[in-house]
Structure formats: structure tokens, C-alpha cells
Amino acid sequence: MSVVVRFFTTIYYNKKALIGFILVVFFVLMALIGPLFFHFSTAIDYSARLDPPSFAHPLGTDFAGRDTLTEIVIGSQQVLSVAFWAALISLSAGVVIGILAGFIGGVVDEILMIIINLVLTIPSFSLNLILAAIFSVTSPVAFGLLLSVTAWAPLALGVRAQILSLRERDYITVARLMGLGKGYILTRELLPNIVSYLTINFIQSASGAVQASVGIMLLGLVPYSVTNWGQMLNIAINQNGGLSNPSGVYYMLSPILALTLFTFGCFLFANGIDDFFNPRLRTS
């Protein structure tokens, strides 16, 4: 319990982290309970198309006269669930491979390092694009898996480096001399020490996955639904006169604003967690 209290105290006194935390929680709540309050109707009202923000429509309306705010809220569910799955899958793969490489070492390490370096060299966004074209993605899990194909490699590299540096610490040597099993050392001594690293990377992976998935949707490659932020951007750019249509600017800015606020929040929050876990930066 005290850890939770200390966590929130640290976050509270670190203004940047607080802003990040609020933003992330805001978007997560939007995705979880937002759809209960906002109902997306496909009714088309061309007399109200691309309206500027008003009291009835706080973010204006889309090309068919529907409320943009509702679309953003409904869309956040898809965007965030893709991000969640991508972060979960790539982090799990990264942890397993990083631990295998760092903990076992030797030939296993060398082979895994060649594979990691190969994946790091492949232009990941291009690969994601091509995979999205080959497989027709229909579910958030599949989309997350697709994004994880390359995203695990930097995480594995990071976990491996953490394990390598921790392995040489005195308390690990002591544990080894005490004759404790490898599994015990791994789960009780090593893993708790990289929890902070994993948490930070989970958030950063989620942020990266949101950027990548919205980017792929922006190019119109994954026909998902009209409420997805990337699909909204695609429509805003390519249809109804696109960018040169002055009245379309609010419809274009809404998903950009949502996306940027989320990734910005993730960035600040991840940095705040770093402060919390890093004892050298702790003030009191």
C-alpha cells in the first residue's frame, strides 16, 4: 500500500508526470467507459456537414454531419486496444528473448543477437505497411501482433542489457554462491529489478503503436471503421477537397489533437515513472 501512496505522491509533486498521468488516464477512461455515454449513429445529415465547433458539437461535425467528438471517443477504443495488444505482445516477446540472451549467454546469446540486429536493421514501418497489405487485419489483436513483428527487437536489446548489468552485481553473485537455483535468481532477484524498465517501455511501446497504427490507417491500408482516428485523418486528407477545404480543418485537427495529446501524455508519464523508480533522482 505504501508503494502506491509513494507512487502517487511522487507523481503529484512532479508536475510533468502529473500532466502525463492525467492525460493517459483520461484516454484510457475514454476508451473504457466513453462508449457508454456516446452513441455513434450513422444517420447522415448533409446540411450540417463539416460544421465548426459549436455547443451541440464541441469538435464540429464530419463530412456527413455526424458529431466528431463522438467519433473520437468511439475511435479511442480501437486505437487504444491496438496499442494495448501491440505493447503487451512486443514486450512479452522482448522480455523472453532478452532474458534468454542475457541470462543464458554463449551461443544462444550470439544467435539471438544476430536475429535482433537483423530485425533492428529492417525498416519497420515499411514492413508493417507490407504486412498490413498482405494480411487483411480485422481485429485489434491481429493488428497488435502485426505491429509487434519488429517492435520487440529494441525491447529485447534493452532487457538483455539490463540483465547483463544486473548479473554482475554483488547480490546476484551472493545468491549464486548460496546455491540458489537459476529460476529463483531470475524470478526473485532479477525480474523485480527490471519492473520499472518494463513499465516505462510498456507505455512507450503503446505510444509507438498508436503512432504506427494511426499512420497505417492514415494511408488507408486497413479498412477498419470510420471512427478510427487514422481513418478519420485519411478521410480528412483525401476526401471532400481534403486539406485545401478550409471548413474541413476542424475535422482534420480533432484526431491529430487526440493522437498528440495521448502520445504526449505517454511521454511525460513514462518519464515520471522513471523518476519514481530511479532512487538517485528521488528527493526525499
Binding site: L118, P123, F125, L127, L129, I130, G215, G220, T260, F264
Partner: protein, 334 residues
């Protein structure tokens, strides 16, 4: 000397292995994926042209030199042979255009933008980074921190979109559609060059905004680390001028990791080019990749992807070799 050659030799071997593996990936991806690409094409063709499936396969074989009955190893060797001889195949949709021709037409534009953007952010970023390390608490600190936050937290396509809307559509300062004005004659003449530069401004600015902050901040932190070294204090104690210390003692060492970082930045540009070039309608590798993806032109996709991978491998190799040559510590060894 021998140490350096050993380092470079090891790098070259790793690069060759990576190259081979990326060929395997690009080959397997197109051929052995579930929901086989060729099968899909054959069904589509059989349906649209109202011919039996066997005939569709025959036509596909004739068109793309693809043989479904060929064992995978033989097919891979044929593909490998083509790639080694510099033949990346023919576009599926436009049989008159080879992938090599597509790359030859698109690469100059991508390189033009990438090289200028990398150069600007490398020179300015490193200069600012050293300055920030040397003179603490200058106004540059919050500015560059802000920029690096932007490059971490704001996707490149959002930056591109904002630049298009603000500088091109609202203010009308820069053009954004295409690579040069249709009024100029493409060729080796000044108006064409100026027009190309004009059209490249916003894509370059996009990449610079993405790269500059990170570049400056990492140069700052490496410079700070170097400044704590004893020889810098010794140089200060000897009363050397500040500019000499910064230039000869700090910058020369602190710039080393940045050189390796150049390869990463180049990779970042290549990766972002699919989105950025498409938004600017800029006829580079990235836009062709997006178009090929949208039209499901698999042979062009395969070729462009392999080409990008080769670019990345070569860029990494150059960075590593350069590092071995620039680093005085590698020189003194052996």
C-alpha cells in the same frame, strides 16, 4: 591497425549475414504467407477473366516468372540469382517498368531530401549540443528540450500535416504538391534546381524538426560526459582558449556516437518517408512504396522493401566503419 581491420571485417561479415537474411525475409514474406499472395491473384484473375484456375496459374507463371510447382529452394535460388545480378523484377501492374527503373526514378528525390535534412540537423544539432553543454542554463535548453519532446511525442506525419496546412495552405510560403513546378523544364538548369529546392523545403523541415531536438540533446549529454574527463580539465588548467578546448578536446570525441546515430536517423527518415512523402505527394521511394501497397503490387513491394533494407544495412556499415576510423581509441590499439 590490425584491431581496426578486425573490427571492420567483423562488421562486414555481420552485414552480409543480415543482407542474406533480409533477402530470405522478403522472399518468404511474399511466397509462403498464409493466404498466399499468388493464390489470391490466381483466383482473382480466374474470376475476372472468366478462365479456369489452371490457366490463370499459367498466365501468372508467364507474367511473373512464377512457378507454383517449383520447390521453394529452387525458387529462392532463382530469386537470389536475379537479386545478385541487380535484377529486382518487374512491376506487376505495369509490365513495362522494372523495379530497378522505379528505384532509379524515386531514389534521387528521397536522397535529396534526406541528405539535406540529415546534414542540417547534424551540423546545427551538434553545434547547439556542445554549446548547451558548455554554457549551462542558456535559453537553448528549454527550446531544445521542447523540440526533443516533440520529436518523441509527435508522429512525423502530424508534423508534416501541420506544416502543410500552416505554411502551404494558409500562408502560401511553400508549395507542397510534387517535387518541382510543372512550369520548369526538368534537366540540368537553374530554374529546375530552384524549383526542386522550393518543393523540398517542407519535407526537409519535417525531418529536421523530427531530428534536431534529439540530436542536440544527445550531443549535449555526450559532451557533458566528455567534459568530466581529466584531459579536458588538464587543457583548462593549461589555459587553452575555450574555443580550442571545445573544438579539439570535446567535440572531436563527443561527435563519435553521433556519427553512428546518423545511420539510425537515416533509417528513421526511410521509415517515415512512406507517410511523409505520401502526404507531400513527393515522388520518392516512400511514396512508391505506399502506392505499391495500395495497389497490391507485390513484386514492386518486394523490390522496394529489399532495397530499403539494403540501404539500412549499408548505412549501418558505413557508420560503423567511420566510427572505427574516427575513434582515436581504436587507432592506438594493436
Amino acid at each position: 591497425m590490425s584491431a581496426r581491420i578486425r573490427v571492420i571485417g567483423k562488421r562486414i561479415i555481420v552485414a552480409i549475414i543480415t543482407l542474406f537474411l533480409s533477402m530470405v525475409v522478403s522472399f518468404v514474406m511474399m511466397r509462403e504467407t498464409p493466404g498466399n499472395v499468388w493464390q489470391g491473384l490466381a483466383y482473382q484473375m480466374a474470376q475476372s477473366q472468366n478462365i479456369p484456375l489452371v490457366m490463370a496459374y499459367q498466365r501468372l507463371t508467364a507474367m511473373y516468372h512464377y512457378n507454383p510447382n517449383q520447390p521453394m529452394i529452387t525458387a529462392f535460388l532463382t530469386y537470389l540469382n536475379g537479386v545478385i545480378h541487380g535484377n529486382l523484377g518487374v512491376s506487376m501492374l505495369n509490365q513495362n517498368v522494372s523495379v530497378n527503373q522505379v528505384i532509379a526514378a524515386a531514389l534521387p528525390w528521397t536522397l535529396f531530401v534526406a541528405v539535406i535534412a540529415l546534414g542540417i540537423s547534424f551540423i546545427i544539432g551538434n553545434w547547439l549540443g556542445v554549446r548547451m553543454a558548455w554554457k549551462r542554463n542558456s535559453f537553448l535548453d528549454p527550446l531544445m528540450t521542447g523540440l526533443s519532446v516533440i520529436s518523441h511525442a509527435v508522429p512525423s506525419f502530424v508534423i508534416a500535416l501541420v506544416l502543410i496546412v500552416v505554411f502551404s495552405l494558409r500562408l502560401g510560403w511553400f508549395p507542397y504538391n510534387g517535387a518541382f513546378s510543372f512550369l520548369v523544364q526538368p534537366g540540368f538548369n537553374l530554374p529546375f534546381f530552384l524549383s526542386a529546392l522550393d518543393y523540398a523545403c517542407l519535407p526537409i523541415l519535417t525531418y529536421v524538426l523530427v531530428l534536431l531536438g534529439t540530436q542536440a540533446m544527445s550531443m549535449k549529454s555526450t559532451s557533458l560526459a566528455v567534459m568530466n574527463e581529466d584531459y579536458v580539465s588538464a587543457a583548462q588548467a593549461r589555459g587553452l582558449r575555450e574555443s580550442v578546448i571545445v573544438k579539439r578536446y570535446v567535440k572531436r570525441i563527443a561527435i563519435l556516437p553521433q556519427v553512428t546515430g546518423l545511420a539510425l536517423s537515416f533509417g528513421g527518415i526511410l521509415g517515415a518517408s512512406a507517410l511523409v512523402e505520401t502526404l507531400f505527394n513527393y515522388p520518392g521511394i516512400g511514396q512508391f512504396l505506399t502506392n505499391a501497397t495500395n495497389t497490391r503490387d507485390y513484386s514492386e513491394l518486394q523490390g522496394l522493401f529489399l532495397f530499403q533494407a539494403v540501404c539500412m544495412i549499408v548505412a549501418n556499415l558505413i557508420a560503423n566503419v567511420l566510427y572505427a576510423y574516427l575513434d582515436p581509441r581504436v587507432k592506438t590499439e594493436g
